[in-house]
Symmetry: C2
Subunit: 359 residues, 2 copies
């Protein structure tokens, strides 16, 4: 966790911007045209596909060749491409949107937290845009926290842990940069053997993992607040497991590579967890749109104003909608400029809000 | 769950084959060559890239153009492609391997369960192969259970639920076939609002969801067997929640669209859960390689020999390694023929093993 802590102190700002784009958070003029092929495009496409050699391209070629008229071939190609790159026009818009946000906040915040679900919803092309977003953010000097919430039995968790250690075309370790994530979130329901592959991967490539402990959503109490025979609540026992799982990888600031997700919507529980988990760094979602305040989030910090980083997603990336400056006849560049300016102002306001709450 | 139950009865076989390929489960001659570019390839590649228009291709073009000698351009392109399609040669091998398995077992088993982590480990190209595997299995008449174990707060769970409902380039519903999954697995740690988006999606497109209750791995007891104040164990309370969450989507065979994952490695707990969850269909992992027997798995079935489907992964897809017939000088086709024959024999043996245990 040392790299994250140092990045936070360099920016003097313990907050992270969640990059969770949805269609209604992105100005419509930012989305590129969807795929529309004519017969010339088709000829070019066929030449390109013949130059490649993978199952997806061969499948598309077969579909085109099976069609019995030029019109049918164009239709087959358009439908097949729409299936093969679902939402390509949308995720291209997400990438332009994310870059505008990153460029506008990179000197204000230490980190960004892309939510992989928002990209995964669009299939493998969405996965590409997720990775490119992480890579662009890293190139701008930001710590990238991949919010992937993976978890499974040991052998499968080891495969998910490639998010950190990576792999290349020869099956070798790929220098820890396949998705350009510096840290990821994981689910603790499987116990030790579902977590060890992630912490081992983090140790191997100087990265971090954050396990869910007390999530910010309303229903979370149905499971996480179940009272155990000894009076503890489930999330408190999970907290003890997380503190224990990270005990062998505590860094120079006293925090381990295994952090915990603790929602700002539970300030008193978070304050108690801060005491209970002295070597566990907190990722604190739920500030802003979900109702958590800076004072609530401040409960998750230690006496040195360290030990936590607070996330805001919609409050930052959707700030342009509340600016009153948006006009539907703006061109994409004007809309993205407004998105960036609004996000920057919101990120600065959040930083100052947190700093005064931590005084 | 009606479609799954009818597919099981049509094949008279309550088992599912887990498609969890790893490099050591696939004969080495099946893997295609990794990317090696010469200057002619580079010229072709540049022409192809110029014909496209997406951030990833533009990024690759920029990298090539920035290099200052032909050798440097080839090196830049090779490195960039290796980063952009990590493990492409490996996952192409996985796809050939999966098709050999599917072709060999499609008349024996009703379903396959691809484990997305094994593909996701290779980035977006792995995601393509996961989807193509699901699509090929559906085309062969198999029910496809996507083992994705996703879970998050409501708004994010809704994005993950696109695995079932899908999306197209216009952001519209994509006929429920983006990943060609008929069902998916999810994690219950978030409570009701983390599950409802998945069950709503399943209802909208006649698909199914399986929530983790009692997983097959050794450490799972650390969390799942925690004793609650009223004497119940955590997994029993989660079981009650799952039975309740599925109450409004019970099908004609008495089972809801929300199933439960219950490991064959816990036969007595599974037997008790079968009583406790009368409307919940079970996905039972842990048979074979993980130690669960047919008798153990049989505890998860109801009086009509219904109510569960048993998974085996390594025991079927890795059966070729125990055949004694493999030779390192086999060509890929010979190795894949052995993989298929061995998988088919293992799938038939598992079916008969389960049927005699259910007698």
């Amino acid at each position: 966790m040392d790299r994250l802590i140092e990045t936070i102190e360099a920016k003097d700002n313990p907050s992270v911007v969640g990059l969770d784009p949805t269609q209604d958070l992105v100005p419509s003029q930012v989305f590129s045209e969807t795929i529309e092929l004519d017969e010339d495009d088709l000829a070019t496409l066929v030449r390109q596909l013949e130059g490649f050699n993978n199952p997806q391209d061969e499948r598309l070629l077969d579909l085109i060749n099976a069609a019995d008229s030029p019109e049918a071939k164009v239709k087959a190609a358009s439908c097949a491409m729409d299936e093969m790159v679902p939402g390509a026009g949308i995720v291209d818009g997400f990438y332009a949107f994310n870059r505008a946000i990153i460029d506008a906040v990179k000197d204000v915040v230490p980190a960004v937290k892309p939510q992989i679900a928002m990209y995964e919803a669009y299939g493998s092309v969405g996965f590409d845009i997720y990775r490119l977003t992480c890579q662009y953010a890293q190139e701008q000097g930001l710590y990238v926290l991949g919010d992937i919430k993976r978890g499974d039995i040991g052998s499968t968790a080891a495969a998910y842990a490639k998010h950190l250690t990576g792999i290349n075309s020869r099956g070798e370790d790929f220098n820890g940069q396949p998705w350009h994530e510096d840290g990821i979130t994981v689910n603790p329901y499987f116990g030790t053997d579902g977590i060890t592959p992630f912490t081992d991967a983090a140790k191997a490539c100087d990265k971090d993992v954050f396990a869910l402990v007390r999530t910010s959503n309303p229903s979370s109490k149905e499971v996480q607040e179940l009272v155990l025979a000894d009076g503890d609540k489930l999330y408190e026992r999970v907290a003890d497991l997380v503190e224990d799982w990270g005990a062998d990888c505590v860094g120079k600031y006293g925090y381990s590579r295994l952090g915990a997700v603790v929602g700002a919507t539970h300030p008193q529980q978070g304050k108690a967890l801060r005491e209970r988990m002295p070597h566990t760094f907190f990722l604190v979602p739920g500030y802003g749109a979900q109702g958590g305040t800076a004072y609530d989030a401040a409960q998750m910090f230690d006496g040195n104003k360290r030990g936590a980083i607070v996330n805001s997603s919609r409050g930052i990336i959707g700030a342009w909608k509340k600016s009153g400056e948006y006009k539907s006849d703006m061109i994409a560049e004007e809309a993205l400029d407004l998105v960036g300016r609004s996000a920057r102002a919101a990120a600065i306001a959040m930083r100052d809000d947190l700093k005064s709450a931590l005084k």
